[in-house]
Structures are given as C-alpha cells and as structure tokens.
C-alpha cells in the first residue's frame, strides 16, 4: 500500500474556506452591532459625569465642549447604526466592508476620547483609562494584530497632546478641584513617568488581548473542524447502520447490492462503488452491482483472477489503494477507467468467515483521494456488506429450495392423477355407450370401477395435502457400513436378470475398501437403482460393470458402467429431476417412474457425496459416486 498524502481536493477545499469565511463574517457583523449598541451609553455617561463633577468640587470644566462631544458621538453612532442595518446581506464581500466600518468607528472614538482627555486635564485626566477599552475591542473585532496598531495610535495621540501642551502649542485645560489646580505642565517628570507607564500598560494590554484572542480563534476553528469531522463520521455510521438494517430486512440479493452501493457512494462522496463476486471455482470475478459507474463499462464484464494481479491481491485478502490510475498497469480494464476519468481506486476484500467472496471497489475522479481513515472505514463497511450478501444468498437458496419442493409436489400430483384421469375418460366412453350398448351387469360393474377410481383420485389429493403438511426429512442413522454384504446381495439380485437378457454382468470390489458412515438401506437402494437402470437400458450382448474402490481424498468410489443406449446431451441437466425420463429411454421402455435417479442423487447428497455422469448416446453410460469415508485410521476396509 502506498502512503497516502492528506486529502487534497480543490473543490472541497474551496467549499470549506467559503464556509469558514461565511461563519466569521457573520460573527464579525454581530460583534460590530454589539459595539454600536454599547456606544449608546457613552453620551449619557458624559452627561452624567459632567453633572456629577461640578457638585463634587471640580471647577472650570468646559461643559459646553464636553456636551458638544457627546452630541457628536451620538450623531456618528446614529450614522453607523443605519449603515450597519442597511447592509445585512451575508455575501463574502461583506467582511472587508464591516472591517472598514469598525475602523471608522475606532478612529472617531479615539478623536472623541482624545478631545475629552485634553479638556479634562490631559495626562492627569481620569478618562485616560478609557483608552484601554478600544485596544481590547480591536483585538476582538479586528484581526488580533490590529490591537498593536491601535495601541500605537493611542500612544501617539497622548504623546502628541503632552508635547503640544508642554510646548505651549495648545492651551492646556488643567483640572481644578476645590481651588487646587492639577497642572501637569508643573510636574513634567511626573507626567513623563505617568506617560511611560501608560504606554507600557497600553502595549501590555494589546499583547495579552491579542494573544488570548488568537488562541480563542484557533480553538474556534478547531471546533469547526471537529464538528465537521463528527458530522462526516455520523454520516458514515448511518451508512453502516443502513447496511446492518439491510442484513436483517432486505432478502433479495440484487436489492441488497443496489442499496449498499448507492449508500456507500453517497457517504464516501465518490464517483462510483462496485461489487464483484467470486465465482464458485474462485477463477472469475463478476460485476454484480455498480453505482455511479457507466453501466456498460463495468456491467457484464468478467475479471479473470489469474490475469489480474491486482484483483488476485485483493482476493488473497489485502486491500488495494491507488491515487493515480494512469500509473496502474495492473488494471485489466485500465483503459475503461481512464475513459471514465477515474484517478483514485480503492478495492477491499469481502470476507465471510475468513473466506473472500468478492471485492468491494470505490472509484474517484480526484487523485490521491483515499486516506487511511477512509480505507479503514471501507474495510468495515465491506465486512457488513459481505454478511448482507451472504444472508441474501442464503435466503434465496432457501427460497429456491422451497420452490423446487413445491414443483416436486406438483409433479407428484400430476403424475399420480394422469393415469387415473385417462382411465376415467376411457370408462366414460365405454359407459356412455360410444362403443356399443352394455348389458345391465356390465354397466353395474363399470359403475363400481368408476366409483373406486374416483375414491382413489380423492385419496391421492388427500395424501398430497398430508405430505405437504408433514414435510419432514427422514433421519439417517450414520453407522460405519460393511458394503461387502450389500454388494453381495446386489450381485445375486441382478445376476439372473442380466443372464436372461444376454448381458455380461461384473462386480468388482477392491481389497482396501474404506469404511463409510451412512444408512445401509438407502445406499443399497441407490446402487440397485443404478444397476437396474444399466441392465434395463443395455441391449443383449452388452456389458454392465460395477466397481467399488478406494477413491481420491479419503473417499469410497463407486462406478457403474454399461454399454447401453446412453443419455442424450440435452437430457443430462434434468437427469436427476423427479419424474424425468429421457426420450430414448421412453422409446425403449414405455413405463418407468422417473424417480430412480432422483433417489440416487438424494441418497448421495444426504451422505455428503458427489455423483458425476459420463455418457455417449449409443455407446454407454458411466456413473461415478464418491462417498466421504470415515475419518482417521478408522476400521480397515471391509470384505
């Protein structure tokens, strides 16, 4: 697996930035309005201060100028209020606009405060402390570094005022308290020290507030990132939950696949999701579902595992991820991927009980799209998808089995009733006088025959109903079998029949025959059916041969061969179906139940064995059965 660089996705990045900007400018506007609201208290404060100052003993205050300043503040705040209210859109351009609005407010505020300070004693004015507020506000309302800019402005303003007063360029307005004048011009050193400490406190405040705000801003930004991550995680969890739900509720495989691929496609925000399932022999991968992919690019395509190192790697259990498909010479359908403009591909195995049943794939147009986190998520999703698929498959298999059983019952009903229907029809013709008149006794007997047959017909219907309600599998007693008794009996049973027909009949049982667990009666019945068929469908002069030996992989091998009429190619697939009889068999022997081979298959299946048939029409037939033998040393072969 190649290391994956962090997710780089132009569009996503741009979207994220836009979103962040939108949040910040919204907040900025909110804070600016708050600043305007606060300012409404300032003119009132000035008025109150002036009113209180005189009775307290402050003399000679320029009340007129102070009130004028208060009025000016009221006016420009009104202007700011209306400007702020008018522009309420939330476009991105808003941000610069709000910033400049804030700067204007700060500038005017500073002018107003400096005027107030100048007329209330210069450096000695108690209003000096109010200059600190704006430095704090600046770090809140504007980029945190701008608090230093405003600190410098404040310092410059104060220093300029002091120098101008000291140099006599402007008239100082010292505070007069109960006859005593606090004139800073009289105490230049004291004023200089005060100014020095003032400057220090202004810059220290700027430093503290800007660094605290910086930290807070970072924290906020982290929170936004975190909540975004939580949102994505939540989406993914919902997707997994949906798949889990599907496991329990959706029973059709194609619907499960459709739901799972579209859900994953949505959550992972990728171009497409595909599911490939491994064929029973493990040699091929079939695309069974694809969401978001061009159907004819993928559907109906079959990947040969041996020819695709990439898919082989995944089938062996290792995920595969690439961020640049053009480099991927491993792709069997590389040109198709390129045509679909796919850059990143992620394949993970679908595991069921440590067995790989297929591959889940994700496709994306962007390069280097799949982060380790996403690979992890995809693997977890694959685990659930595999279970969902397996569940649906099991359910479908059961449904198919149920349907086969029902069809079997239908055929039983049909085949039991058909001959009776024919008999009744023929009776009707005779009794109806179509073939000449009947005497009374004949009529009476035929009436009785008719009645009995109809009873039988009814009985069949009832039996079928009963069988339906009592579908219960016969329990097999699995005991080690000594087949020497069985084979001996079969040999004796069929020797005469074969002889009469002029057939050569041979039974060969090898010495080292393994013992098998099973039901002796059932196996004998199965062998009898095979031998009986072989004799029935082989003409005089032919040969029937039965051979029991030790098979490969700890099995018992039974071979029944003949030189008979053979089984036509097209009849092979129905050979083990109940009531099925091949055309050439019908031609040779009119009557037959069509149940013999069905029973053989049933017995072999119940014993966990396998049956194969080879045949050439006109030349003969060979049935080979492998029964699994007893495990371990077990008893030595019988006979």
């Amino acid at each position: 697996m190649t290391p994956i660089p962090p997710e780089i996705n132009d569009q996503e990045l741009r979207d994220a930035i836009e979103e962040r900007k939108r949040i910040i400018s919204g907040e900025l506007k909110e804070r600016t309005h708050w600043f305007i609201r606060l300012r409404w208290f300032v003119p009132g404060g000035i008025l109150l201060g002036s009113a209180v100052a005189v009775p307290l003993g402050f003399e000679g205050l320029p009340i007129g100028i102070l009130l004028l300043t208060a009025a000016a503040i009221l006016v420009y705040n009104l202007i700011f209020f209306f400007i702020g209210r008018k522009k309420t859109g939330d476009g991105i351009g808003q941000r610069g606009y709000i910033r400049s609005l804030t700067r204007w407010q700060f500038g005017l505020d500073y002018v107003a405060i400096l005027v107030l300070i100048h007329f209330t004693g210069g450096m000695a004015s108690p209003l000096v402390f109010f200059l600190i507020f704006h430095i704090i506000f600046a770090s809140i309302l504007l980029p945190s570094r701008s608090s230093y800019g405003f600190a410098t402005l404040v310092v410059a303003g104060m220093v300029a005022n002091c120098i101008a007063e000291y140099a006599g360029w402007i008239t100082p307005h010292p505070l007069v308290f109960r006859g005593q004048t606090l004139n800073s011009a009289d105490l230049p050193v004291h004023t200089a020290v005060m100014l020095g400490f003032f400057v220090a406190s202004v810059y220290i405040t700027a430093f503290f507030t800007s660094s605290i705000m910086g930290m807070l801003r970072k924290r906020i930004s982290n929170l936004v990132d975190l909540s975004e991550a939580v949102r994505r995680l939540n989406e993914k969890m919902s997707a997994l939950y949906a798949v889990t739900q599907a496991i329990g509720s959706v029973k059709k495989l194609d619907r499960v696949l459709k739901m799972v691929t579209s859900e994953l496609c949505r959550v992972m925000e990728v171009l497409g999701i595909s599911v490939k399932l491994l064929s029973a022999d493990g040699k091929f991968l079939h695309y069974v579902a694809a969401d978001g992919l061009v159907a004819d690019v993928f559907k109906s395509k079959v990947v040969e595992v041996a020819k695709s190192p990439l898919n082989r790697q995944v089938v062996e259990g290792k995920p595969y991820v690439t961020g640049r498909v053009t480099h991927g010479e491993m792709f069997q359908f590389g040109e198709d991927l390129a045509a679909a403009d796919i850059q990143s591909v992620l394949f993970v195995p679908l595991f069921v009980e440590e067995k790989v049943i297929g591959i889940l794939g994700a496709y994306c147009k962007y390069q280097e799209r799949f982060t380790p986190d996403e690979v992890d998520f995809f693997r977890q999703a694959a685990g659930l998808v595999a279970v969902a698929i397996e569940n649906a498959r099991a359910y479908e298999a059961i449904e198919k089995l149920m349907e086969e059983r029902t069809w079997f019952m239908m055929r039983v009903a049909h085949n039991l009733r058909s001959p009776l229907a024919a008999v009744i029809s023929m009776l009707d013709v005779v009794r109806g006088g179509y073939q000449g008149a009947l005497n009374e006794t004949q009529s009476e007997y035929l009436r009785r025959v008719d009645r009995r047959i109809r009873t039988m017909l009814a009985m069949i219907n009832e039996l079928l109903a009963l069988a339906k309600s009592r579908e219960e599998k016969r329990k097999i007693s699995f005991t080690p079998l000594d087949l020497s008794v069985t084979t001996g009996r079969i040999e004796r049973t069929f020797q005469d029949e074969a002889l009469q027909k002029g057939l050569k009949f041979e039974m060969i049982v090898s010495e080292d025959l393994p013992s098998i667990p099973g039901d002796a009666d059932m196996i004998e019945q199965a062998l009898e059916n095979l031998v009986s068929n072989a004799i029935k469908y082989t003409r005089g002069g032919g040969q029937v041969r039965v051979e029991l030996s030790k098979g490969p992989k700890n099995t018992l091998q039974v071979q029944v061969s003949d030189t008979g009429i053979g089984i036509p190619q097209k009849a092979r697939q129905n050979l083990f179906q109940e009531f099925f009889r091949a055309e050439n068999a019908k031609a040779m022997e009119e009557h037959g139940t069509g149940l013999g081979l069905a029973l053989v298959k049933e017995v072999v299946d119940q014993h966990g064995g396998r049956i194969i048939v080879e045949s050439e029409e006109g030349l003969g037939t060979l049935f080979v059965i492998h029964f699994p033998a007893m495990r371990g040393a077990g008893e030595p072969g019988s006979r």
């Binding site: 349907e403 029902t406 069809w407 019952m409 009733r417 029809s425 009707d428 073939q435």
Partner: protein, 136 residues
C-alpha cells in the same frame, strides 16, 4: 350448420386423446390430434382450427401454457379459443409455486380451464359454449 367444426387436441396422453376423439367425432366434430406442443403448432399452421383442446404438462412442466402464450402473441392465432385441460388439481395450480403464479399473472391466455378427467357431457357443452361465443 355448414361444415363440422374443426377441433385440434394437443395432449401427450394418447388414451385421453382417443377417448375425446370418440366423444367429439360421434357428435359430428372434425378432430385432429397432436401429442406435444411442437406437433400441435405444426397442425395449427396447416389449418387454423375452430377450437384447441390443450394439455398443460407435456414434455416440460408448462408446455401447454408456453404454447397458449405463443398463440396469444401471434395475430394469426390469437383468436383461436383454447380449452385447457390439466391433471393438476385446480387448487394446486391456483396456490402453486411462483413459476406457475408468474404464468397466471401474465394475462390468462385460455378461454376455459378444466381439471381432468372431464365428463363427456361437460366436454361437449364446453365446446358448444365456445363455438357459440365465437360466432356471437
């Protein structure tokens, strides 16, 4: 009545075919017989009969239905009335497996549907009914 009505029986059970032939011929119908769907179709192509009597399960489980649908889709044959007979118990066919339900769901392709065995009187009245409807 002018020419006797031409009836084609398609059934793999020769005994059933023979008995129906006796009953129908003695009532002045002209009877042709075929023993599977393919032969039946060949007979149809030779001459379009007035009625087809059709079995369901012949060489395949649904051969009769397959033929009925084939006729229904063919403009030359879709007007031929079909009397379908089957040895399935009717109840079973109705509650039958999905495959059968699927067939039934596609639009019923036959005129009448009876369970075998059918009594001679019932067969004759069914044929009469079909021919009457066809004329009217």
């Amino acid at each position: 009545m002018g020419n006797p009505a031409d009836i084609l029986i398609i059934d793999d059970d020769r005994d059933i075919v023979d008995t129906m032939r006796i009953i129908l011929e003695s009532n002045n119908y002209q009877v042709r017989a075929a023993y599977n769907g393919k032969e039946g179709y060949a007979e149809l192509e030779k001459k379009v009969p007035d009625v087809v009597i059709l079995d369901v399960m012949m060489s395949t489980d649904t051969e009769g239905f397959d033929l009925a649908y084939k006729l229904q889709r063919d403009p030359d044959f879709k007007r031929i009335p079909i009397l379908m007979l089957t040895s399935f118990p009717q109840k079973m066919a109705e509650e039958g497996p999905e495959k059968f339900q699927h067939i039934l769901g596609e639009g019923w392709p036959v005129t009448l549907f009876f369970e075998k065995p059918i009594q001679p009187e019932k067969l004759l009245s069914a044929i009469e009914e079909i021919l009457r409807d066809k004329k009217g």
